[in-house]
Subunit: 426 residues, 2 copies
């Protein structure tokens, strides 16, 4: 079984993953058609991960932050998309094994990203909710709304308390943004939707193992995020390492615990596994070790980019780059350019990351941004955050939709998409 791709006129580059890195590489490679480019992804769409928390909190639709991969590459030269899961790589024979068949490559670009890391805690993995994909964001939205319905329905005070506690684990941008958005739901929406409930009994916790929020940011931004979240009513617990969650109570540190049904795990990631890559080639967080050209150690024609790779040769980043969109985009472009250089007989250029700054939003008019070497907070950071995100979303329609969703929520204080919808079974 193969994937029914015509034999390439030139060399074939196979890209695994249509995230920020894979798309950046593919766009450069398909500009003129020097290679045959095949993109493999288990989904038929790219997802804009920074706004997943908006989907989870009924502020946006999945399609506002997703984009069909075929449409991304509609004008690409000699481009082929195949929807399939990737199972293993046979580096000796240059073959990629997918759920839909085998695929020969001349060059392989791995951009498969990461998945949620539960650090081996099986009970947590079974009961906590992740937030790494639009499917997971929708499941979280459904869970939050269904939990409120259960809370209305029960006459048991202990059960109601358990239902009304929402615990976010992890104080990075995702955890901070999600906790802030949940606090807005509690303040603006739920009192009107559930007049029968005492909404002040609803409690939102943010548990963070580190001693401060937003560890990648400055101390100043961390303190600002903490202040803003607490002002919004979020109970932030710093230095709280979660030990277990059995579906009814989350325990942390030395036996401290919070009764809760809903725990959202935004606490760590682990690179997606791929059979055929030996453990010696893997580093911290299962990331694949690469040289300064993003080449996998010991392989001439396999490149790994973005969250999935570990590049430690840059003295500025001895533990590897931060796992953020900008690194993936820049590496994708660089690897693609180097492949084109090789066709032209030119030497490749090593990767060097240009940090464009980082930002996180805490809620209405509140954000932190670190850019051009400066730290911003409050309304300006928030407006900047909106602008940059609009800029990076793919597609005119998605930009209009996101802008509309934001404007609507801002003007009406509404999070309108509070429907528990699942596709039917067949």
């Amino acid at each position: 079984m193969d994937l029914n791709i015509p034999a390439p006129r030139n060399k074939r580059v196979v890209i695994v993953g249509g995230g920020f890195g894979g798309i950046a590489a593919g766009r450069v490679l398909t500009r003129h058609g020097e290679f045959q480019t095949v993109l493999v992804d288990r989904n038929n769409y790219h997802q804009f991960q920074p706004l997943l928390y908006q989907v989870a909190t009924s502020g946006m639709e999945p399609t506002a932050i997703s984009f069909p991969l075929r449409k991304v590459f509609r004008k690409g030269k000699d481009f082929h998309f195949r929807m399939a899961g990737v199972e293993a790589v046979d580096a000796a024979r240059n073959i990629l094994h997918t759920t839909a068949g085998d695929l020969h490559y001349d060059y392989l670009v791995l951009a498969a990203g990461t998945d949620t890391n539960y650090f081996g805690m099986e009970s947590v993995a079974r009961h906590a909710l992740p937030l790494k994909s639009v499917g997971e964001a929708l499941a979280l939205r459904n869970r939050v709304l269904a939990t409120m319905e259960l809370a209305v329905r029960t006459a048991d005070a202990a059960e109601r308390a358990e239902l009304l506690n929402f615990v976010v684990v992890g104080g990075g941008p995702t955890g901070v943004e999600l906790a802030g958005a949940l606090a807005e739901l509690q303040r603006r929406i739920f009192p009107k939707d559930y007049p029968e409930l005492d909404i002040s009994a609803m409690k939102i916790y943010l548990l963070n193992a580190a001693p401060r929020l937003l560890e990648g940011f400055s101390e100043e931004s961390s303190a600002r995020a903490l202040k803003d979240l607490e002002r919004a009513g979020v109970r932030v617990v710093l230095g709280a390492t979660v030990k277990d969650f059995d579906g009814h109570a989350v325990t942390y540190n030395d036996g401290e615990s919070i009764p809760a049904r809903t725990v959202i795990w935004a606490s760590g990631v682990i690179a997606n596994a791929l059979d055929g890559i030996s453990t010696e080639q893997l580093g911290r967080g299962r990331r694949v070790k690469v040289d300064e050209y993003n080449r996998m150690e010991g392989a001439e024609n396999i490149f790994v980019i973005g969250d999935q790779c570990l590049l430690t040769s840059d003295p500025r980043y001895p533990n590897g780059h931060p796992q953020v969109a900008q690194v993936a985009i820049q590496q994708g472009k660089q690897v693609a350019r180097n492949l084109l250089s090789s066709v032209a007989g030119k030497a490749p250029e090593p990767f060097r990351y240009k940090d464009k700054g980082s930002m996180a939003t805490i809620g209405r008019n509140r954000a932190v941004a670190e850019i051009w070497g400066r730290h911003f907070g409050g309304f300006f950071a928030w407006a900047l955050w909106l602008f940059v995100h609009l800029l990076f979303i793919i597609g005119v329609r998605n930009r209009l939709t996101v802008l509309f969703d934001w404007s609507w929520s801002y003007l009406t204080y509404d999070r309108p998409l509070r429907t528990i919808i699942r596709p039917a079974k067949k």
Copy 2:
């Protein structure tokens, strides 16, 4: 186990189902709070069924045509919503059994609508796709897109032909609108998304058991719909009674068959079943027989409205009213008004249907409309169809969203939401 609803100060009315009928009744009943009103629905949202085909063909999001039931009744007096499935009614004890517990009623308004009717053909029920809910519309969208991905991937010509045949069964408004929208996908979108496929090999069939399309409409409108669909490339087969579908071929009449993986069943409905109602009380299509006050035969305090009821005392409709939104809305209002009259000691008024006309769209600039005793076609009917649907959708935001979606599709010829998204499992 009960549903944790406070004991009513006055009498309690329980409404089953948040469709057109249930909402209409609830709005009248909760205006001043003469009753305690409890609405029970298995979903937490109202769905606008006339636009399901838009969701199925990647033109709209489910939330554009859904609306949270709690928000519908936010200003309602003494209103309580409970998300639960309804299992049985105990008319002797005035108790409704739900999946979440039992509920006592003084008056019961059944507005549970219909489900897809496969006329006892188990194989068809197992393999064909229905289109009666937003969940089913999403599943259909996912199926159509996934089928195209499979068609690209296969090198087997027979398999590809099977994958590229899409069969719609049923020539009512849903079938006609869906076939028209699929034809637009084939013409405008798929050639660009799947340049590797010969899209002319894709075939859309519309099988209709009756000798003409849109049976409830005039002969003139039927002929116009047929012409418009055929011009759009749909293969319409009239007088085709489907006998079987095994997942690979649909057979009809005397052994004629079409190889196809995707069959959409828009061919008939059956009223949702409720234990506790005896078979003598049911009529054609499992509809509950009611008198001119929509009272269930033999019950003083149970009313059935909309698609679920069969009212045959009006000589204009000896076989019952058409199962359309307008009947449900008018019956819901009338039943609620009669309940309020009874509080005031006034006599109830019998139901009398005011037919406001009917319409169906076939695609860009094409529709048929029968209104004010006249028949319209072409652009005017199409514009009227848009206007009336916008008018009846609940919520300012949903209207803006639907208007935006239509404008976008109209101006760009795009159906942008071509993503296969499912909520994650947990």
